[in-house]
Subunit: 217 residues, 4 copies
Amino acid sequence: MPPSRRAATVPDEANAEQNAARNAILAAARTEFSAKGLAGARVNEIAARAGVNKQLIYYYFGSKEDLYRTALEVVYTEIRSLERSLHLGDMAPAEAMQALIGFSFDYLERHPDFIGMLNHENAQGASHVRASGAIRDTNSPLIELIAKTLKRGIAQKLFRRGIDPVELYVSIAGMSYFFFSNRLTLSSIFSRDLGDAQAVAAYREHVVSFAMAGLRP
Amino acid sequence: MPPSRRAATVPDEANAEQNAARNAILAAARTEFSAKGLAGARVNEIAARAGVNKQLIYYYFGSKEDLYRTALEVVYTEIRSLERSLHLGDMAPAEAMQALIGFSFDYLERHPDFIGMLNHENAQGASHVRASGAIRDTNSPLIELIAKTLKRGIAQKLFRRGIDPVELYVSIAGMSYFFFSNRLTLSSIFSRDLGDAQAVAAYREHVVSFAMAGLRP
Amino acid sequence: MPPSRRAATVPDEANAEQNAARNAILAAARTEFSAKGLAGARVNEIAARAGVNKQLIYYYFGSKEDLYRTALEVVYTEIRSLERSLHLGDMAPAEAMQALIGFSFDYLERHPDFIGMLNHENAQGASHVRASGAIRDTNSPLIELIAKTLKRGIAQKLFRRGIDPVELYVSIAGMSYFFFSNRLTLSSIFSRDLGDAQAVAAYREHVVSFAMAGLRP
Amino acid sequence: MPPSRRAATVPDEANAEQNAARNAILAAARTEFSAKGLAGARVNEIAARAGVNKQLIYYYFGSKEDLYRTALEVVYTEIRSLERSLHLGDMAPAEAMQALIGFSFDYLERHPDFIGMLNHENAQGASHVRASGAIRDTNSPLIELIAKTLKRGIAQKLFRRGIDPVELYVSIAGMSYFFFSNRLTLSSIFSRDLGDAQAVAAYREHVVSFAMAGLRP
DNA sequence: AATGAATGAGAGTTCATTCAT
DNA sequence: TATGAATGAACTCTCATTCAT
């Protein structure tokens, strides 16, 4: 059975060694799809970047769209895995919340691929995210974490009541996401480089303090 | 002189009547480019949507890319024009700030084209925004408005000190932008429809109250 | 009746003034067709070069091909007119023959348009020359001149017998034509600029002396 | 590495079998470009004539222009190869010179492709010949052959002094080239078919005897 | 597991030409 | 006599995909 017929899942850890070419393709695909989207990406370019023959992409993934879907799933799987490694229960509510906000910010800074793929996916109707059981079914623990942390903070009168965890997540994530996602146009329009390390660090502080202040009772 | 050689500016109000075909093309282009980006958009589709012969696009705009650039400029010109019509000086600082936040939110809700084009532009390196003198030179008055309102609020001890206007703009805009831009993937992942009127209204309230709370001293 | 329906002849001298635009088109057409041939020439380019609206070309000439045919006829008419102004009967045979050879050479040097149009016409099957009654019917007097001059020279024992006037014409014209027509590739291949004035003058002398030597008994 | 990226050289003899499609394209290209030039030639037509899928042309040659350049190089390579097989050193000077003139004539008669491509190339500015290192660097041995033969003939008092080999080459080649290149317009204008075998043979004799006579002291 | 050759569909663009005034 | 708007046909070229080994 050709690999492309097998369920499109993340390759087993055990097979990692044997799948060097496959992994190279996936890595190249993430970069390419993130930058240009499904329509704009070029199979040729992905093959060249991965250093493999173009046909190998079809051998492993069946089609450009299947490769896209797989890359999307890999990208989501990665962030879920990291989110799950957050252990905020041990921290005081304020610290926990700061860690959460910081995590959102830092992850986006380090994973421009994730932003790119999400942007294209949304611009295009999010049809692949919707179609992918793998993505839908892998729930993000973040909402739960936020809800619990909020509750603990309210109990200690650190946070005010009535804040919806999903809405809070969206607004916190949005502050970071927009910064990284639209950095280029913003920099151009404000004639102010939002890409250098100092600007990033300053904005990180702003986001944390602004959001924490917004939570006060 | 063929029209495609003329400076790519927004058509004069006076000529609007004479430019029915040109305007139809531009409108169709905004929709198409917003949904699919420069690479994904199809000239055929734009022509069909505009109800004109495909070649007329080349007659008026010279190339797909030039049409894209023009559409981008039109979209920016529109929001700048609306921003300039905001008169916050007459309001009390808190009201003015709320109006500002609300404006950001409402504009994005009503102009999905704007979001789509910006997303694609950023994903692709913002090269066209950077290349367009017309966009770079049309400064946004928002930063000025925010700075003045902040100052007035600080003087009245309503807002705290030390908040950078650009950073404040980015975080406020980000909360709204991310919501609309990523609504589809967020809805899918949270199994909660963020697109219905009620969810939008609720999130609007959240953004305003959250941001206003974040400004308190 | 639109002018394009009128017989495609050279415009009357009398109408020259009124036909400034028409003449400009024809002049531009010669340059353009000579450089790029019928297929390669661009109506747009001809209009731009002539400084007139493109549609005017259709008004005056009906189609690109008709314009081409007219330009071809004009070009042939010009050389015929010059050929007819040669009066070799008054000269001694040797002088007359030298004048003839020189005329061939000099005309081609000064009329690159003529060469270009002929090259394209031949490469393409000479269908327009064949189709044009105007060209076929305007006999070249050169063959007659050559025949008479040969005869006179033979009588004076200056030239040898048995030389066919048409063949002589072809070989004489060929020496000059090839030089100008293929000057660019020849220069490149021999790494020797055949375009400068000195090289042209030297080759002219060579052609005259070589041909005259070839005629000796 | 895609074939179109490989250096545009003549295919190895050894690979001839494996390159059937590529060779068929090249052969068709020569015919098509010779007849219509770079601008006038149609990729569709070349593909049809070669009996291959149109896109294979792009696979092998990258673009229409690259195919043109390659065809030009092949055509030049062929004539150089034949020129190099001429061994005139064994012949007496007069015979050698006659052989040379005859070779020029015969080659052009048998290779209308060569004439067509050269005509278009010159009409268009010879940019491709100039750009091709392969063509520029493959020197023609003819000038050397002519120079040596002239010298030997002069030593034997058969030829006169002071004849430049390049100029001699140009005038000899020109007599033949012009005949074949402009045969169609000449035939039409002189109402005399220069294409039939008899006319060709007669003109060949004329060229040889006329040129040889021109060389006499 | 891997590759070079080949292809069909369709993309952006060019261009001669016509329409309407 | 002159022009801007509009169009259909055709062109070069791209690209995902398949074939054959």
